[in-house]
C-alpha cells in the first residue's frame, strides 16, 4: 500500500513538472490580454488604459530591422489613420532585445518612427516581458483587442493581410475585416491567420 502511495505521489509530481515545464503558449482568441506600461519613442510611458475613449486596440509587434515588418510600415500607418478615429488605435511594440539585434535599439526606434512619420505609439518592450505573455513569435504579429467589462479581449491574432510583398496584390485584409466586424457588432469571419515573419530576438 505504501508503495502504491509512493508511486502515485511520484506520478503526480512528474505530471506537475511535465506541465510546468511546458512553454507559455500565449493568448488565444477569447482570452483577456494584459495591459502594460512601456516606453514610447517620445520618452513617455504608455498603457492601454490611457486610451479612455478607445473601443479596442490594434496591438502590433513589429521592429526596425525585419524586412517583413518594413514591408508593412506604410500599411500600419494607414490602419492607424483609418481606425484611430473609429476607436481602434494602433499600438506598436518592438519586442526584440537590442543586445541580440542592435538595429532594434530604442534610439534607432526613435529614428525609424521619425523617418516614417509614425502616427501611433511605438513602444519598447524593455526586458522582453510583454511579448511572451501575448505569445507573439515574430514581427509583424497583430493582436486585435476589444475593450469589454471583463477586460481587453483578444478578437483576432495573425497577419495584417494576405500579401506581404505586394500591397497592390492583396486580396484579403484580415485586420481591417476583423475591426470592421467588431465595429458593426458582427462575428469576425477569420479570427486567426499565419504569416512568415522574423523570429523575435530575445
Amino acid at each position: 500500500m505504501k508503495t502504491i502511495k509512493f508511486v502515485l505521489t511520484a506520478l503526480v509530481l512528474v505530471t506537475t513538472f511535465a506541465f510546468t515545464e511546458k512553454p507559455v503558449e500565449g493568448y488565444k482568441v477569447g482570452d483577456v490580454a494584459t495591459d502594460f506600461k512601456l516606453k514610447n519613442v517620445d520618452g513617455k510611458m504608455v498603457s492601454l488604459k490611457d486610451y479612455k475613449d478607445a473601443k479596442g486596440y490594434i496591438v502590433i509587434f513589429t521592429c526596425n530591422h525585419c524586412p517583413f515588418a518594413k514591408a508593412y510600415e506604410d500599411r500600419i500607418i494607414a490602419l492607424d489613420k483609418k481606425y484611430k478615429k473609429l476607436g481602434y488605435p494602433v499600438i506598436a511594440i518592438n519586442p526584440n532585445n537590442p543586445e541580440v539585434q542592435p538595429d532594434d535599439s530604442y534610439d534607432l526606434m526613435k529614428v525609424r518612427a521619425k523617418e516614417k512619420g509614425f502616427t501611433f505609439p511605438y513602444l519598447f518592450d524593455e526586458g522582453q516581458k510583454i511579448y511572451p505573455q501575448y505569445g507573439a513569435t515574430k514581427t509583424p504579429h497583430v493582436f486585435v483587442l476589444q475593450k469589454t467589462v471583463k477586460g481587453n479581449v483578444v478578437k483576432y491574432i495573425g497577419a495584417i493581410d494576405d500579401n506581404h510583398s505586394d500591397e497592390e496584390a492583396v486580396k484579403v485584409k484580415y485586420v481591417e475585416n476583423a475591426v470592421d466586424a467588431l465595429l458593426e457588432g458582427k462575428e469576425i469571419e477569420v479570427n486567426s491567420t499565419k504569416a512568415i515573419g522574423c523570429s523575435i530576438k530575445s
Partner: protein, 170 residues
C-alpha cells in the same frame, strides 16, 4: 529479382524527384536557383523514399538563419553519402533574388540545394508545412518517409546532427 526491384525503386525515385517543377528560374553567370509557389514545392515534403530530408526555411536578411547556415552546409557535406539531402528554402523577396540571394550563394559557396519559395499568401501554406509553425524563421523540417519532425528554432551543429541522427537511424 532483387536487382529489378532496386532498379525500379531508383527509377521511380528519380521520377518522383522530377515532380518538382519550378515556376521560374533565376540565374546569373555562376549560379541559378529554382523558384516555386507552395503548390509546386509541396511534393518536397511528401517524398516517400529512403532519403532523409533536412529542409531549412531561411532568408539572406535573417541573421539567426545566416548564422546557422554553415551547420546545414556541414551536415550536407558529412552526410551526403548517407542518403541525406539538405535543402535550403529561401524566403527572400522576389525582387531581391538577383541582387542579393544569387550573390550571397556565390560568395558563401553554398553547396546544398537552394530553392526559392515565392508564395505571398503564407496563411494558406504555413500550416501545411507544419501545424505548429507560427511562421517565424528560421524553421526546419527533418523527415524520412512518415517519420517527421519540425523545429521553430535556431540550431548549433551538435543539436542539428543529433536531431538528424534520431530520424536517420530510425
Amino acid at each position: 529479382m532483387k536487382k529489378a526491384v532496386i532498379v525500379f525503386l531508383v527509377f521511380t525515385g528519380f521520377l518522383y524527384s522530377q515532380d518538382l517543377k519550378p515556376v521560374k528560374t533565376y540565374k546569373n553567370e555562376n549560379r541559378e536557383v529554382a523558384s516555386f509557389d507552395y503548390e509546386h514545392l509541396a511534393p518536397l515534403f511528401e517524398q516517400d523514399d529512403d532519403v532523409t530530408y533536412v529542409i531549412n526555411f531561411w532568408a539572406t536578411w535573417c541573421l539567426p538563419c545566416v548564422k546557422e547556415l554553415p551547420y546545414f552546409e556541414k551536415l550536407n557535406e558529412v552526410y551526403k553519402d548517407k542518403n541525406v539531402k539538405v535543402i535550403l528554402v529561401s524566403l527572400d523577396f522576389p525582387k531581391k533574388i538577383e541582387s542579393q540571394l544569387l550573390p550571397f550563394l556565390e560568395r558563401k559557396k553554398i553547396q546544398s540545394t537552394v530553392y526559392v519559395l515565392d508564395d505571398p499568401d503564407a496563411n494558406s501554406w504555413i500550416e501545411k508545412v507544419n501545424k505548429d509553425w507560427s511562421g517565424a524563421i528560421p524553421a526546419t523540417v527533418i523527415y524520412k518517409g512518415k517519420n517527421k519532425k519540425f523545429f521553430e528554432q535556431s540550431f548549433t551543429y551538435e543539436e542539428l546532427e543529433k536531431e538528424l541522427l534520431l530520424i536517420l537511424n530510425n
